[in-house]
């Protein structure tokens, strides 16, 4: 999209007005975004070099916060859990695709089924967390009873150091799968029917059809599904906070929760240390963000 030749021959006043106009339109939104989002990123990096309780003056400690991180057992637990979150969250993408394929039919009432399958994404993670806490609850939780009935053993998932993270991730996957499902359902709508028919005449079906004909056409949906799933995995905070508060013995902490705990918990406000943890999380996220931006940038160039 380019400006037409008219704007070149137009009077100078008109042109200068067109140079100023975008900035006037941008000013309020840009100012708020800079103050509340862009500048704070750098402020956090700055604060991570200080010892600060949020009230009294900051004390410069250089990289001491980062050095402390290296020997911090809880930091490693959180980091390890973040990696587990990220890896298992990826299951949401194929699972969402499977459900979308299952629902991509035109029978009576299918629209209602689609919306009901999407349901878990609409409710807040706090409610999802409470629902799953109830589902896992010892003695009367539905899943607890089911496992007891099937295997005879009593498993309190949220009280077990080795299972707790998986239990929370399962709760997180529920809405995440729903999200990926809706992305794929919309994508499947746009798949070119003639290509499918042509491939069918060539004898393609089942997995082969899916892999070679359908999936390539679903690439935009897959891209967005991957983006939102990575972001969702690294943003995980609500469920951990609601379901376990990081316990038992800190075994279900993730970086986002550990940061919050350090910076604002009853154990005292360690803003500098918290900021250092946030910087690490930000660095991990940045790897993915730059990847996304790079791809979008390339698409933008292609669109010109």
């Amino acid at each position: 999209m380019t400006l037409s030749p008219n704007s070149i021959t137009a009077p100078r006043k008109r042109r200068s007005r067109q140079a100023l106009a975008p900035w006037l339109f941008l000013a309020p939104g840009l100012a708020m975004f800079l103050v509340y989002v862009i500048v704070p990123v750098f402020q956090s990096m700055w604060v991570s070099f200080f010892d600060w309780d949020g009230l009294s003056p900051k004390t410069w400690v250089g990289i001491a916060n980062y050095i402390e991180l290296i020997d911090d057992e809880a930091f490693y637990t959180s980091l390890k859990n973040n990696v587990i979150w990220l890896a298992l969250y990826m299951l949401a993408v194929p699972a969402g695709l499977m459900i979308a394929l299952f629902l991509n039919q035109t029978v009576r009432g299918i629209r209602i089924y689609k919306s009901l399958f999407f349901f878990p994404f609409v409710i807040s993670q706090v409610v999802v967390g409470l629902i799953f806490s109830w589902f896992y609850a010892p003695d009367f939780g539905l899943l607890y009873k089911l496992i007891e009935w099937l295997t005879g053993s009593q498993v309190a998932i949220l009280a077990d150091e080795h299972l707790v993270t998986y239990g929370i991730i399962a709760a997180g996957l529920w809405p995440q799968i729903a999200y990926c499902m809706i992305l794929y359902l919309t994508g499947l709508n746009a798949v070119a029917p003639d290509q499918i028919e042509a491939a069918r005449l060539d004898g393609a079906k089942g997995w082969k059809m899916l892999w070679y004909v359908v999936l390539p056409q679903l690439r935009p949906a897959t891209f967005i599904a991957l983006v939102v799933t990575v972001i969702g995995a690294l943003r995980s905070f609500d469920l951990v906070s609601i379901m376990t508060s990081g316990g038992p013995y800190g075994s279900s902490r993730v970086l986002s929760y550990y940061m919050y705990e350090q910076a604002l918990s009853e154990y005292g406000y360690r803003m500098g240390y918290g900021a250092a943890i946030a910087v690490v999380l930000f660095a991990i996220m940045m790897i993915f963000i730059s990847g996304f931006i790079w791809k979008m940038w390339r698409d933008e160039q292609g669109a010109r």
Partner: protein
């Protein structure tokens, strides 16, 4: 169409599909169904160990109890007070920024656009300490406006991404023609582009409503107590008070989930258009 339409398969397969649909749905929503049933279960049932059977009576008074004995109504009201201004603010600001980035060609254009996109993806924790500090200094800590201001600013990132792409897909000739006619830039925005943005505004409004209603982290960081906290943070503290009173926890959860659910069903098409970022058509 993929997979092959079920109508082209044998009658047995069609029957199997018709049975599989509701069965899968019930399995999928099992935790939710359980909670919904618990929310209307009399507490005597829970005491007697009747957790999964049919409730002995429908105890809608669980809902009344929740309202009477707790500040749930306050929390719900606070949620509306945070969410509605945020929707108006973020969508309004991003109409302007989106228009600027979609229509004008200037050097910093793409850079600014990607700044909005990237900022939208950052982990909240990297913003937490400075934003909390800023809010305290503005005297807005533990106020609804403090929380809403941050939400407006942050959501402007996502909304700008959405609006810019939407406006970019509009026919540019319209703007050109208006310019040749000598219509001012503001008038072009107001009378040429704005009327065409209605679907985008609707999509973003439902989406932002849901996002903000469901926000928990910022509610915990910027507010404390029943006078300012929205329902998500409220549920967390009520959950602490109601240890093992699952019929009350469930009723509270259902109430908290209701507004975004109603929003979703009322404006489903817009909601989904918003979620897919308009990128998957």
């Amino acid at each position: 169409m993929f997979p092959r339409p079920i109508q082209t398969l044998s009658p047995t397969a069609q029957w199997a599909y018709k049975i599989a649909l509701p069965v899968m749905l019930i399995l999928w929503l099992l935790p939710l169904i359980g909670v919904a049933m618990t929310s209307v279960r009399p507490s005597s049932d829970l005491a007697a160990g009747n957790y999964f059977g049919w409730p002995s009576a429908l105890a809608f008074d669980n809902y009344i109890t929740v309202f009477k004995n707790t500040a749930l109504d306050k929390y719900l009201l606070n949620s509306f007070k945070v969410t509605i201004p945020t929707v108006i603010g973020a969508v309004g600001l991003s109409c302007l920024t989106g228009f600027a980035l979609a229509v004008y060609k200037f050097k910093a254009n793409l850079l600014l656009f990607f700044m909005f996109v990237a900022g939208n993806f950052v982990p909240f924790q990297i913003l937490m300490v400075p934003v909390r500090d800023l809010t305290v200094h503005l005297g807005l800590y533990n106020t609804i406006s403090g929380l809403a201001l941050f939400h407006i600013a942050f959501q402007t990132g996502f909304c700008t991404l959405f609006m810019r792409n939407f406006i970019k897909a509009l026919p540019f000739d319209l703007i050109e023609v208006a310019r040749v006619e000598g219509v001012s830039e503001w008038q072009i925005f107001r009378h040429v582009v704005m009327p065409l943005m209605r679907p985008a505004i609707a999509a973003l409004s439902v989406l932002i409503f849901t996002f903000i209603w469901n926000d928990y982290f910022w509610a915990m960081v910027l507010t404390t107590g029943a006078d300012t906290q929205p329902i998500t943070a409220g549920l967390n503290s009520l959950n602490g008070q109601w240890i093992a009173a699952w019929h009350l926890v469930s009723a509270g959860s259902i109430l908290a989930a209701l507004p975004p659910v109603i929003m979703f069903f009322a404006m489903q098409r817009h909601f989904i258009a918003g979620l897919t970022l308009g990128a998957v058509k």
